[in-house]
Amino acid sequence: MQRRVIFDNKLLPYLLLAPQVAVTLVFFIWPAAQAIWQSVHIQDAFGLRSEFVWFENFTAIFTDPNYVGTLRTTAIFSVSVTVLSLTVALLLASLADSKIKGAPVYKTLLIWPYALAPAVAAVLWMFIFNPEIGSLGRLLNGWGYPWDYRLNGDQALTMVILAASWKQVSYNFIFFLAGLQAIPRSVLEAASIDGAGPVRRFWSITFPLLSPTTFFLLVVDMVYAFCETFGTIHALTQGGPGKATETLIFRVYQDGVVNNDLGASSAQSVLLMVILIVLTTIQFRFVERKVHYS
């Protein structure tokens, strides 16, 4: 799309674009190209020579049983975070949208967690569920349930899933509210007159009409679970105990920054890039439909 009335100037548009393009080239395109280059090379121990090795780095990570474990953890983690935060947000949004008293107050009290950093959300959960200082952590142990997410891998994974979902609910809530407000009242009223109860109205009218929003959030939440939750995991469990909470993104950091294994880290970066390109493309193809719908 293009405006009909425009300005004539040969040089100005390039000057206007220069800062954005410079930052993009230096800090995005060039490093991404480097990652792709490194992913098909192996460096010697001193970082002096590199050898082209085709897809050796990729086959190495896929045959590494640890990596398969990381993929499994990532899958469990992202699916759980996405489903949990979507379900809770949809429940709260559909209740706060109905003609309920005090709806604006509920809305304000439910959207503010958006402001918290994923790492801060993790710290808040730690204060409560730490087995030594956390009130609920101690309570669980007091009831005879051996709770220590620092030693038990399943408990650690549960903790990071809950902390990551807790933070994402408010984002989904805001978009579900916007989606719900776009549904014409007349349709719901007509169904009500025909004798459909609130539950029936939700499943046969509201839910299908919300599907563009739900689908959009599904993609956004997957991207969130893949990337932004690095802070949650780093602050809460450091990927442990063992590798119980090590997701793809944490492993990239671990291999590249902590273990200084460039080839493996880059190969994983490239894999993440592919996943993100697929997710973003799906998201934008669908945005056209959403605009059409509203």
Binding site: M1, Q2, R3, R4, V5, I6, F7, K10, L12, Y14, L16, P19, V21, V23, F27, P31, A32, Q34, A35, V88, L95, A96, S98, I100, T108, L109, L110, I111, A115, A117, A119, V120, V123, L124, F127, I128, N130, E132, I133, S135, W166, V169, Y171, I174, A178, F216, V220, C227, E228, G231, H234, G256, S269, L272, M273, L276, T280, V287, K290, V291
Partner: protein, 291 residues
């Protein structure tokens, strides 16, 4: 009707009407409870929290804890960067990222929407592609570029690599396309060139969009984690979100938990205040920039 008001049927109806309130209140409590615990924790002493006996009511140590983390560089058990310094670093980083993203995006959106020039679409797609390359997928090479440019442990290193923004550019472009041709033509007839038009007409018209974007970008900047973790080594450059996790270390009971909780409260304050007090702009910024 009147004979129903006291009947069992009506009582049942009232109970059903209460269900949404109960669910919403439980939801609000689940989100508020961790904050409440942290606030309470920041008013007690380290020993009380370390024993695991944190009461559910405020203690009397609030002033001591907050003034200590604000200006001192050590608690009873370990040393830290004072919150005063970390807070300033976070403010500078968040403001630079928000202002930087808005400035370079509004300029490039202006170029793409109001001019026709060779390679226009190439540049547009180049900016668009950044959406698919968050820092998380190019950690090491980006770090290397920043190190080669001597930007480790600098505010420039903390903010500039994050200020390219496809979403902000797309949002401004979308808005610019809705500006009526008559307005542009009138400005041209009055002798306004592209620079004059930008400052006198376009910028004032974009005020609401700028405010909305500023709110979400400030929060985005404030909450950065992986990037500041990589590019800052010196304690003087630590941001407050990173500072908290450094204070926690491995999460042992012997931490200065009172100070950690006070720091956490201070770290949450600016972004939460922004969301609550600028709610309308915040929701507009969030929903619009995702369209």
């Amino acid at each position: 009707m009147s004979n129903h008001t006291t009947g069992p049927h009506m009582i049942g109806r009232r109970l059903i009407d209460l269900v949404p309130h109960i669910v919403l209140i439980v939801g609000v409590l689940i989100f508020a409870f961790p904050i409440y615990v942290t606030l309470i924790g920041s008013t007690w002493d380290a020993a009380t929290i370390g024993r695991g006996g944190l009461p559910m009511t405020p203690g009397g140590e609030a002033w001591n804890n907050y003034s200590q983390v604000w200006s001192e560089s050590h608690g009873e058990r370990a040393s830290y960067t004072p919150v005063r310094i970390m807070m300033m670093n976070s403010v500078i980083m968040a403001l630079s990222i928000a202002v930087g993203k808005i400035a370079i995006s509004i300029l490039s959106a202006y170029a793409v929407a109001f001019f026709r020039f060779p390679l226009r679409m190439v540049f547009f797609w180049m900016i668009f592609i950044t959406l698919m390359l968050p820092v998380e997928v190019r950690i090491i090479p980006t770090y290397k570029v920043v190190a080669d440019l001597g930007m480790i442990d600098t505010y420039a290193g903390l903010s500039i690599p994050l200020i390219a923004s496809a979403t902000a550019t797309l949002l401004f472009r979308q808005f610019f396309l809705t500006i009526p041709d008559e307005l542009v033509e009138a400005a041209k007839i009055d002798g306004a060139g592209p620079v004059r038009f930008f400052f006198d007409i376009l910028l004032p018209l974009s005020k609401t969009n700028i405010a909305a974007l500023f709110v979400i970008l400030f929060i985005y900047g404030w909450n950065q984690y992986l990037w500041p973790l990589l590019v800052t080594n010196s304690a003087d450059m630590e941001t407050i979100v990173i500072g908290i996790t450094k204070m926690i270390g491995t999460g042992e009971a012997a931490n200065d938990w009172n100070l950690i909780m006070a720091t956490t409260v201070l770290a949450m304050l600016p972004p939460v205040a922004v969301v609550i007090f600028m709610q309308r702009w915040f929701i507009k910024g969030l929903v619009d920039s995702e369209k």
